[in-house]
């Protein structure tokens, strides 16, 4: 399985995701943001970081970068796209995913391990997880407060397009278990065709017992055995 990781000048989780992909047996290539062609890929990952500094709105400039046209083309032809953290923010800026990521409710950067619950496991990204499985995954963001308009929220719920929700260790989804104020505790969503996943938590940080845990492994093994 071939993967490509898009590298913006301010990406900083590009190496981390590449390490995780290679560990999970992907044949991975790094793609520079000024490139105008994509290598043949089954999966494109937009990693975390600060794309172009994000002094403007997070991901706003990246959403207009050269390589993004290629990502949109690939997405429309069914290629799998995974946007993590800044990658999720960029995907909402390109319009590939609807909604937006506002500043965290407490107006502070948040880095900690949070619990998330698998809401839909019938997708190419999540098939190896159990439904409602609780994962402990690291988040690290300033703008992770997902927001969208009511009609889209209805669609997300009706079409089962919510991938993960923040919860507590027992799986309870409420305000207390919501780290950033996201609407309905949403931590990750799919597009209508479910070939695009955007998520704030960092699965690539959870593939090594020495560092954290291995709760992120099944996301990658779902993809490789899709």
């Amino acid at each position: 399985m071939n993967s490509s990781v898009i590298v913006f000048p301010g990406s900083n989780c590009d190496r981390d995701i590449a390490v995780a992909l290679e560990k999970m047996q992907f044949k991975n290539k790094m793609v520079w943001h000024k490139d105008t062609t994509l290598p043949k890929s089954d999966l494109i990952v937009i990693p975390g970081g600060f794309s172009y500094g994000d002094y403007l709105r997070s991901g706003a400039i990246a959403g207009k970068s050269l390589i993004v046209n290629e990502i949109i083309k690939a997405a429309n032809s069914g290629c799998l796209i995974l946007g993590i953290c800044n990658g999720f923010q960029i995907l909402t800026e390109t319009g590939l995913l609807k909604g937006t990521l506002l500043r965290n409710k407490n107006l502070k950067f948040i880095n900690k391990d949070v619990n998330i619950k698998v809401i839909n496991n019938k997708t190419k990204f999540t098939s190896k997880y159990n439904l409602n499985q609780i994962l402990k995954i690291n988040v690290a963001h300033n703008e992770g407060n997902y927001f969208t308009k009511e009609s889209h929220l209805e669609e997300l719920n009706k079409e089962n397009l919510i991938a993960f929700k923040y919860c507590d260790e027992k799986g309870v989804v409420n305000d207390l278990s919501n780290p950033n104020g996201a609407l309905e505790n949403i931590a990750g969503i799919f597009n209508a065709k479910k070939n695009i996943l955007g998520m704030m938590p960092h699965p690539e940080r959870m593939v090594d017992e020495m560092i954290s845990n291995t709760d992120g492994v099944n996301l990658f093994s779902s993809l490789i055995n899709k």
Partner: protein
């Protein structure tokens, strides 16, 4: 322009120093030249008050590749791997503009590390604020923490450890010290010594603006009520550009294009060009109209003294200009050849083909003033502590007071604002005795920590100096690392005051003795004097940053209790030293008496035995006993895990308050499996280690027979509330 007395004073130079400048130049300097002298001769750049004392520190050892004098220190960790690290202060700017001050402090120290060819892998910080009740403290805390996070998180280097402390001595002068640690190949270290004449001098990075002009002079003067007016001299950080600069520099460093490289830190273009030329015994000639400027009509004076961030000066090998330019263009950074090296041993400055300034390099560097300032030894005051009064306090209430105090509260409000996990190699995040960061793609790791003990240093500077080094060493041991070397950030008051200079001299004596005994050399550092406002000086606050190596990272160790019904051993002797303790401060607001004594032999012996136990896999968890004493250390082990502790009534103690809250040094708590007791005792007895069997781990409760029984969750709540309610 006539150089008047007022202009000289404004540049922070004394009339005596001005006379000296005229003598060295054999004429009057012009304003540009005067500005350059003021930048190079101020305390921050010249170390004129501290140099004679710093020289006494041990800086050599088998593990040392590069000691003080370069951008950062370099140590050998085997297999052609080297660790590059340094700590630096950004106190004055952070008080004036906390977010940018702290952010650029992080940016500056990162550049010092990657200038040497290292990829930064960890950031640490030591931040000290005034009393929480002081009206400025809250906004300073917020600003500094988000500034540190803002820079490190964006550039993508994990902030893995640090300390946050409060003490009214910092009410008008906070401390913000940032440390960066990088990894390089031993055979690919880059230095700042220029070599060869007619080599291109290249400016790379951000454009030059008017920010930070005279920043280094500001950092070398006391504050007064007008300090807030100095806001325009605080630089503005751009971590995104720094990320570009980091990647571009490391890309260029893959081959042999670079002869010398130096970041433009304090005193910007001036100090970088002078230092490179001075180290190479060369001259340097710059055409200032070529300097990329952010603002219009900038004068040579402004260009030479600007402290705009994210800039580097590089001396390139012949014919490498185009190759280097391509790399910097790829990263959208400025790249301009602005001058060349010469054999004149002068700093020669041209502006539109007109000579605007010329100074001997030696006059700026090696001939900068060195002062042998007067200093006096601290008179040791006799303690007036009424020991009977303190013994009557309720034990559990006293513990709660300590655990809920700002200085001992859980710091996750702070550390959760820092990305600790980016780069994927953080094995132990902050909260333990030291952080552990794996060397990428290898089965080994480094441990890092920063420490300070201002109260100890204030009461007895020499004993305090010893104690910090030992505590730092102990913290590395506690996570299973062999301590290798330190960097120090020496934050003191006004060196022209002989008592303050005495604090400095004595602290350094203590640091020196400890480093020598422990074979723990100083490889880099920074001195920050003039911390104080209107003649009120801060407590002497040397901060020590230590690095250790874990050669085989099979099962990393920390202070979290691991099992039910395992045994807890206390290594090291408890005398019940209660003077200068947190117990006294938090319960009685007493800061009295002498700090606990250091016994070097026991310190080393105990530490080596603990490391031995860890390496043999006999320890389940380890925690050093420091501020707050034994009881706080036990609480920390329990609160960070799912287990409690049961302690039988200790037999031979004078009094439980002194036994549990005393801050005697050289002690560790070690959790071991019952089955391993014999093996452990054998190791300890063989090495003549004093130890006590403290108790066992249990579920849910922290219990001391006949003294207290508390639910761990309740203790955790007590310990976690302060920041959230502040």
């Amino acid at each position: 322009m006539q150089i008047t007395k007022k202009i000289i004073e404004k540049h922070g130079l004394s009339l005596e120093e001005f006379k000296n400048i005229k003598k060295l130049m054999k004429r009057d300097p012009n304003l540009l030249e005067l500005g350059i002298f003021s930048a190079m001769w101020n305390e921050h750049c010249s170390y004129k008050s501290s140099r004679i004392h710093l020289k006494k520190l041990p800086t050599k050892g088998k593990q040392v590749i590069q000691g003080p004098g370069e951008n950062a220190g370099v140590i050998d960790i085997g297999d052609n791997d080297a660790i590059v690290f340094k700590i630096e202060s950004h106190n004055h700017p952070s008080y004036i503009e906390p977010y940018q001050g702290a952010a650029t402090g992080v940016g500056g120290i990162l550049r010092d590390v990657f200038t040497m060819g290292a990829r930064p892998i960890a950031l640490l910080n030591s931040i000290h604020f005034g009393s929480p009740s002081h009206p400025k403290t809250k906004s300073l805390l917020n600003g500094v923490v988000s500034g540190i996070g803002g820079y490190g998180n964006c550039i993508g280097i994990p902030t893995v450890a640090g300390e946050t402390k409060f003490n009214e001595t910092y009410n008008e002068n906070i401390l913000v010290n940032a440390m960066a640690v990088g990894h390089a190949k031993k055979d690919k270290i880059f230095y700042s010594r220029a070599k060869g004449i007619n080599k291109s001098v290249v400016y790379v990075g951000s454009k030059t603006g008017r920010d930070g002009i005279h920043g280094a002079s500001m950092a070398s003067a006391e504050f007064d009520e007008n300090s807030e007016d100095k806001k325009p001299t605080v630089q503005v950080g751009d971590p995104f550009t720094e990320k570009l600069l980091l990647e571009a520099c490391l890309e260029l460093m893959k081959d042999d294009s670079i002869i010398a490289i130096q970041d433009m830190g304090a005193a910007g273009l001036t100090s970088s060009s002078v230092e490179m030329a001075s180290k190479g015994s060369l001259g340097i000639e710059l055409d200032l109209e070529k300097v990329p400027c952010r603002e219009e009509n900038m004068t040579p004076y402004e260009m030479m003294l600007s402290e705009s961030q994210e800039r580097m000066l590089i001396i390139l090998e012949d014919g490498k200009e185009e190759h280097a330019r391509k790399i910097f263009n790829k990263w959208d950074l400025d790249f301009v050849v602005i001058g060349k090296t010469t054999n004149t041993r002068n700093l020669t400055l041209n502006f539109h083909s007109k000579l605007v300034g010329e100074i001997q390099i030696d006059a700026l560097a090696t001939k900068a003033p060195v002062y042998k300032r007067k200093w006096v030894r601290k008179k040791i005051k006799k303690s007036k502590l009424d020991i009977k009064k303190i013994r009557n306090v309720n034990f559990e209430e006293a513990l709660i007071k300590v655990l809920s105090s700002p200085n001992h509260s859980n710091k996750s409000w702070v550390t959760n604002q820092y990305d600790q996990m980016v780069m994927g190699d953080t094995v132990q995040r902050s909260g333990s005795d030291a952080a552990i960061v794996r060397i990428h793609n290898k089965d080994k790791a480094i441990a890092v920590t920063v420490d300070s003990s201002a109260n100890y240093c204030k009461s007895q500077p020499k004993a305090g100096g010893k104690q910090i080094v030992c505590e730092n060493w102990r913290n590395l041991i506690s996570v299973g690392a062999k301590p290798l070397a330190i960097t120090n950030c020496l934050n003191f008051g006004n060196p022209e005051n002989e008592e303050i200079m005495g604090e400095f001299a004595e602290c350094l004596e203590g640091i020196k003795e400890a480093c020598e005994f422990l074979n723990y050399p100083v490889v880099s550092g920074n001195v920050s004097f003039y911390n104080g406002t209107n003649k009120k000086n801060i407590f002497p606050t040397p901060v020590i940053g230590g690095v250790g190596i874990i050669n085989k990272l099979s099962s990393p160790i920390n202070h979290k209790l691991k099992k039910d019904k395992s045994l807890l051993l206390l290594i090291g002797k408890t005398f019940g030293h209660i003077e200068q303790s947190c117990f006294l401060k938090e319960n009685f607001s007493i800061i009295e008496g002498s700090p606990p004594e250091i016994n070097f032999f026991n310190e080393k012996n105990n530490g080596e035995a603990v490391l031995n136990l860890i390496t043999q896999g006999l320890a389940n968890s380890v925690h050093d006993v420091s501020n707050g004493g034994l009881i706080v250390a036990l609480c920390e082990m329990a609160m960070s895990s799912n287990y409690g502790i049961k302690i039988e009534k200790p037999k031979k103690i004078r009094n439980p308050i002194e036994y549990f809250f005393g801050e005697d040094q050289g002690r560790y708590i070690v959790e071991i499996n019952k089955d391993n007791l014999m093996k452990v005792e054998k190791v300890l007895q063989k090495n003549d280690i004093y130890y006590e069997l403290l108790g066992i781990t249990q579920k849910k409760y922290l219990e001391i027979e006949g003294l207290m029984k508390s639910n761990i969750n309740d203790l955790f709540k007590i310990n976690s509330q302060w920041y959230n309610q502040y």
